[in-house]
C-alpha cells in the first residue's frame, strides 16, 4: 500500500517495529495497534502492572501570554471551552472541550497551567491527533494577538505510563513524581543527572488506572522509553488495548462517543463544567450548555452492559422493549477486565436510568442488555 509511505512516524517508531508491533494507520500516523503479547494480555498487564503507550500522535501546544500574566491566557482560552481556566493553580490540570457555536463538541482536550517557577503564566494543551490541525486553526482564529500559540509537535513526544506499578517505575527515575496527585503535573528531570531529560509529567491518563503522561523532547524520547522498558513490570501497549482500557473506564473517544452532533451535557460531561460556567457565560457554545441544563435533554450517553457474550459494536441499533429505535452504540467491544462485552451509546429520554432494559440489534437479532453506571471497571486514580 503506497499510502503507508505518507504516514508520519513518531520518534518511537523504530522501537515499535523492533518490538514486533502490528502497525496501522491512525490519524495520519503509522501507529502500533498491538504487540506480540496481544490486546487481551496487554490490557490485563496494564491493569495489573504497568503499560507504556506511545501517544506522540496527539497534539501538544502552549498558550503563552506576552504580558506574562496567566489571566491573559486563561481569559482567552475561557472563550473557547466550558471549563473554568482562570482558577487553575500552577501545576493543576483540567479536562474540557472545544465547542462550536451550536455547542457541539469540536474536540476534547487536557488543559494544564504550568507549575514550574517562571513559567506559571503558560497554559499547556493536549488535543486529539485527528483534530489537532483544526484545533490549532480554531485557537489561532479566536485567541487575541497578545497570546501566542506555540505548537510542540515538532519538538515533543508524548508517552503514557499507566497501571498500579507506574508510580514505582517512574519514581525510580525521579522520586518526586510520586508526590503528584491525579490531575496535577510538574516539570522535572527523568535522566541520570539533574540536567538530563527534562520532562513535563502529569498524573493522568486514559485507562482508568493510576499513571502518568510524560511529554519528553524528541531527542530524549527513545532513551526514556528504553530506560522504562528495562523495568520488568513494563510492557509496550498498543492502541487496541488503549481502546478497551478507556472503554472500561467509561472515557469518551472523540469521533465515536463525542463529535459535533452532541453537547458536553448530552455526553455526560457536566462534571467537567464548573458550576459558575453553566450559565451567564459567553464562551462559544455556552448557550447550548445553558439550554441543555434548563430543558429536559432529548438524549444522553450511557453505559450499556449486554447480556451474554456477544459484543455490540459501534453503530449497533438500540431498541426499547417495545421495539422502537432509541439510539445507537457509539463504542462497544469486549472488556477483558469485565470479562464480557461492554458498550456505550446515546439513548433517548426516559431510558437514561441505570437498570433500564434494552435490546441491541446484533446482525438482525435482538439481544438483551441494560443501562449501567460507568465506569465498567473501577478507577484507580491517586487522589491524594
Amino acid at each position: 500500500m503506497t499510502d503507508t509511505q505518507d504516514l508520519i512516524k513518531t520518534t518511537l517508531h523504530a522501537i515499535h517495529v523492533a518490538a514486533g508491533a502490528k502497525m496501522v494507520p491512525f490519524a495520519g500516523y503509522d501507529m502500533p495497534v498491538q504487540y506480540p503479547l496481544g490486546i487481551m494480555k496487554e490490557h490485563e498487564h496494564t491493569r495489573e502492572k504497568c503499560g507504556l503507550f506511545d501517544v506522540s500522535h496527539m497534539g501538544q501546544c502552549f498558550l503563552i501570554p506576552e504580558d506574562g500574566d496567566f489571566a491573559t491566557a486563561a481569559k482567552a482560552l475561557e472563550k473557547l471551552v466550558p471549563a473554568d481556566i482562570q482558577s487553575l493553580e500552577p501545576g493543576q490540570q483540567r479536562y474540557s472541550q472545544f465547542l462550536n457555536e451550536e455547542g457541539g463538541i469540536l474536540d476534547d482536550l487536557m488543559i494544564s497551567r504550568l507549575g514550574f517557577a517562571g513559567h506559571t503564566h503558560k497554559i499547556y494543551l493536549v488535543v486529539n491527533a485527528g483534530c489537532k490541525d483544526q484545533d490549532y486553526a480554531h485557537l489561532q482564529k479566536h485567541i487575541p494577538d497578545n497570546v501566542k500559540l506555540d505548537i510542540l509537535d515538532d519538538s515533543m513526544s508524548l508517552i503514557a505510563l499507566q497501571g498500579p506499578k507506574a508510580a514505582e517505575v517512574l519514581g525510580s527515575l525521579n522520586a518526586k513524581v510520586k508526590d503528584l496527585i491525579f490531575m496535577t503535573h510538574t516539570d522535572l528531570p527523568l535522566g541520570e543527572t539533574m540536567a538530563d531529560c527534562w520532562c513535563h509529567v502529569s498524573r493522568s491518563g486514559y485507562t482508568g488506572e493510576d499513571g502518568y503522561e510524560i511529554a519528553v523532547k524528541h531527542p530524549d524520547a527513545e532513551w526514556l522509553v528504553d530506560k522504562l522498558l528495562e523495568h520488568p513490570d513494563v510492557e509496550l501497549i498498543g492502541l487496541g488495548a488503549r481502546d478497551s482500557l478507556r472503554m472500561e473506564a467509561g472515557l469518551c473517544l472523540y469521533g465515536h462517543d463525542i463529535d459535533t452532533t452532541v453537547s458536553p451535557i448530552e455526553a455526560g460531561l457536566i462534571w467537567s463544567v464548573q458550576k459558575h460556567r453553566r450559565s451567564g457565560c459567553d464562551y462559544i457554545g455556552a448557550a447550548r450548555i445553558e439550554a441543555d441544563l434548563a430543558n429536559k435533554q432529548s438524549k444522553r450517553l450511557v453505559g450499556i452492559l449486554p447480556e451474554g457474550r456477544a459484543p455490540a459494536r459501534e453503530h449497533t441499533e438500540i431498541q426499547d422493549m417495545d421495539g422502537n429505535k432509541i439510539g445507537e452504540i457509539t463504542s462497544g467491544g469486549f472488556g477483558p477486565t469485565v470479562g464480557g462485552p461492554i458498550a456505550m451509546g446515546y439513548v433517548t429520554r426516559k431510558n437514561f436510568k441505570a437498570g433500564t432494559p434494552l435490546n441491541l440489534i446484533v446482525r438482525g437479532k435482538a439481544r438483551p442488555a441494560k443501562v449501567v453506571k460507568m465506569p465498567f471497571a473501577p478507577h484507580n486514580y491517586k487522589r491524594g
Binding site: R309, P311, G333, P341
Partner: protein
Amino acid sequence: MTTYYSEDHEYIKVDGDIGTVGISDYAQKALGDIVFVELPDVGTSFEKGDDAAVVESVKAASDIYAPVGGEVTENNGALEDAPETVNASSEDAGWFFKMKIADASQLEALMDEAAYKTFCDGL
C-alpha cells in the same frame, strides 16, 4: 480424512459426506484473542460462500463463509462459553460446525494443505 482450505482461511475436514468447518491456525493468529463465536443452527442450509458464522476478537467481528454448500448437522456449542478454544486449538477442538456436503465437486476449488501453506507464505 482430507482437509481443504479456502482463500478466506476457513478449513473443511472431509470424512465421507460430512465436513467439519473452522478457521485455520493462520486465521486465529491474525484475529488475535477471540472473545465470541456465533454459530449456525443445526438444519441451516448454505450455498457455497454464504455467511455461515461470525468470530469476534477484542477489536472486531469477522464473517466466516461456507467453504462449500450443504446443511449444518452439528455445531460446537462448547465455543459459546469458551471462545478462546479457537485460539488454543483452531483446527481441532476449536471447530465451528459440521455440515452434510451437498456437492463434493465444490471441494475441488479449495486448496489442499500444501497449497494453502504456499498461499499463506505469500501473504
